[in-house]
Subunit: 397 residues, 2 copies
């Protein structure tokens, strides 16, 4: 089955007919369908499938005689809410297609090659990005993960159970993995600017999520004089504008894209506004300073409004520098440029766990991602498959 | 059954154990329970009960020989999301208790007295405040109401059906109603400042709800440069702050208490932010000017952000001046002060429909309403019952 045929298979799964975006939250029926699709694709290729308690999957190609440290590649199949088609699936489909290409070329790897799919990479349901790879590498423990609830109050274990997974089945082992290469659609415009279809990643910016809880006093929107209010919406609004201004000043990134208001009624001053800050900077120190500065702005405004602000770090990931030797040797294969990214990836988690890791990017003409407008041209996708086949052939030889 | 006993009956219905606030949205199980409670209270008093297609109710006391234009009193039993105990139920319970007081006093009304309960007064579910009384008076038509959907996409007719109501049963008739008096907890602090338990209403400020839809472009919160964004959250935040500032400058009221964000993901720049403006002013002209000014601020900021703003009036109610002769004659009964209110009420709808209408307010020591902190002391509630009994005795004699 060709890249294009696999891509057509995935097109309708979890797709909103109104926006054209994808809702492939982990352990929903859409994501279960993707897991079944991957299992079928693996079996059709004679690959050996492993699935763990979380629904993480690896499909192994172990040609006779292949031995030693294995080469892992792959990405994820879940999406953000109303996300694009490419973020995640492109890396998985390209990995399967790259194996097909290698077989057509008659390559005989001397090491096992695994295609991995880690769950909840986006953190769109349980709030912690890369939850699947974090658990597999031990970056997060089961004991802390099992306490997590989604927005509807569903506990992680119940979500796994509902998806037909067995929480007692244990987790994938990455013992024996010699290196990891993740192919991903680019989420900016560096490759467009450089006019090339494929690139390699140098590093991931430090980034994290902080929950800002502004609390005030619920009251009647009509009868309460403006000067008698303690309105947390105002404290939030001023903080969101301050975050934008700070990030622009420093050339970093700060976003409030998610908000939860109580009671969220038209004719009531809210009692609480919770909002999530996504912040990313070029260094760990800059990130700490940016969040500190935004929190200070929030505190100052809250004091003025008679409200209170509490800031909770939900996840913070330090800078990830991909394996320099590995990246340099791969760059030589295709003369690919090496660029930084501000997006988190499972590759960052595996790199932090001590596995030599690299990333390949495929050009995105819009530069837009986490949106239905996310795009990669088919010719570029196929160039990505060829590049990945070259890389895997080199690493597994 | 005493006022206190009825109040105890209602205490647990639809109450959140975490906040202590009430969730008595129309045609939910909590509100159906209140409707059943009212029917039982009416029957226990030998009152004649009418219930219409919407679940509006009137319990009639028709002593033998009573004739001529009837006297209607009552309020509502639904609440805002996480609302207080008094807004609505105080007027209904006080009306039943006032009939008990009149009977104990041996009053023999010469006109029928009705206790009414109009549904969806708060507009907390289908977005149009006073929906029940609007339909009964013809201010809103069935044809437009039946198109309404709640936040979950449930249509009005399906909600009625689910609550066991018969949408084909027709609506209450207010023919023959000579006047309407609604007792309500005060939602400000005028009576506290004047140190009296009971007051009368002069007028309701003009007020309304406008939906502000800010549209931009969804994108990745990490990889999208600040200068490449079209982020509707920023346009919204600046507009919310401008609304607050404008209302403070003019001594009016403007509130953004409800917001809906798409896709509402932590790591995505939103594609759309919808927010509801509640605005109230001392005159119709001032209200139009305030909303116009806030919209202009929103447009200006949207232009700067590369987003777009569309403003939709969801409901606008002009100034209501309660019947001056009626109010003057009632004020003489108890030497009660006459004060304005910024809150909408079914009394405003009935007044607009040409029924001579007055309102009694009961002191609220916190001044807080639409919140679990809403309060009226029992002594003041009982003073309200006595006042209402005096008023009804006078009007029905």
């Amino acid at each position: 089955m060709t890249f294009e045929a696999m891509w057509r298979d995935l097109h309708p799964v979890g797709r909103s007919t109104s926006s054209g975006g994808y809702f492939r939250q982990p352990w929903t029926s859409a994501e279960s369908e993707l897991r079944a699709w991957f299992a079928e694709a693996a079996i059709a290729r004679g690959l050996e499938l492993e699935t763990d308690a979380m629904g993480n999957q690896v499909a192994w190609w172990r040609p006779s005689g292949a031995a030693g440290p294995s080469v892992l590649t792959g990405s994820h199949l879940d999406s953000v809410l109303d996300g694009g088609a490419f973020d995640g699936p492109l890396g998985v489909v390209s990995a399967l297609a790259a194996i097909d290409v290698m077989r057509e070329r008659g390559v005989e790897p001397t090491r096992p090659i695994g295609v991995s799919v880690f769950t909840e990479e986006e953190g769109s349901r349980f709030g912690l990005a890369c939850l699947g790879s974090r658990l597999v590498t031990g970056a997060t423990t089961w004991d802390s993960a099992r306490e997590r609830q989604d927005r509807d109050g569903v506990h992680l274990l119940d979500a796994l159970d509902a998806a037909g997974l067995d929480p007692s089945a244990g987790l994938l082992s990455l013992e024996g993995v010699g290196c990891f290469v993740e192919l991903h659609v680019e989420q900016g415009r560096d490759l467009v600017d450089r006019d090339v279809a494929v690139g390699l990643a140098s590093q991931i910016w430090p980034h994290g999520r902080w929950r800002f809880d502004f609390t005030g006093e619920a009251n009647h929107a009509g009868t309460t004089r403006m000067e008698d209010r303690r309105d947390p919406m105002l404290s939030y609004a001023a903080t969101a504008l301050a975050a934008d201004e700070q990030a622009r000043l420093t050339g970093e990134r700060a976003t409030f894209g998610r908000i939860d208001v109580a009671p969220n009624g038209t004719n009531a001053v809210p009692s609480r506004v919770s909002a999530w800050l996504d912040a990313r900077c070029s260094s760990d120190a800059a990130l700490a300073e940016l969040v500190e500065s935004i929190s200070r702005h929030g505190d100052d405004r809250a004091e003025r409004d008679g409200t209170a602000l509490s800031v909770t770090a939900e996840s913070v990931s330090g800078a990830v520098h991909f394996d320099a030797d590995l990246t340099r040797s791969l760059a030589a294969i295709g003369d690919w440029p090496v660029i930084a990214t501000q997006a988190g990836h499972d590759a960052g988690i595996l790199s932090d766990a001590g596995i030599p890791t690299a990333m390949l990017f495929v050009r995105n003409p819009t530069g837009v991602s986490h949106s239905p407008a996310e795009l990669a041209e088919t010719a570029d996708c196929l160039a990505g498959v060829e590049a990945l086949a070259d890389v895997l052939s080199e690493l597994a030889s």
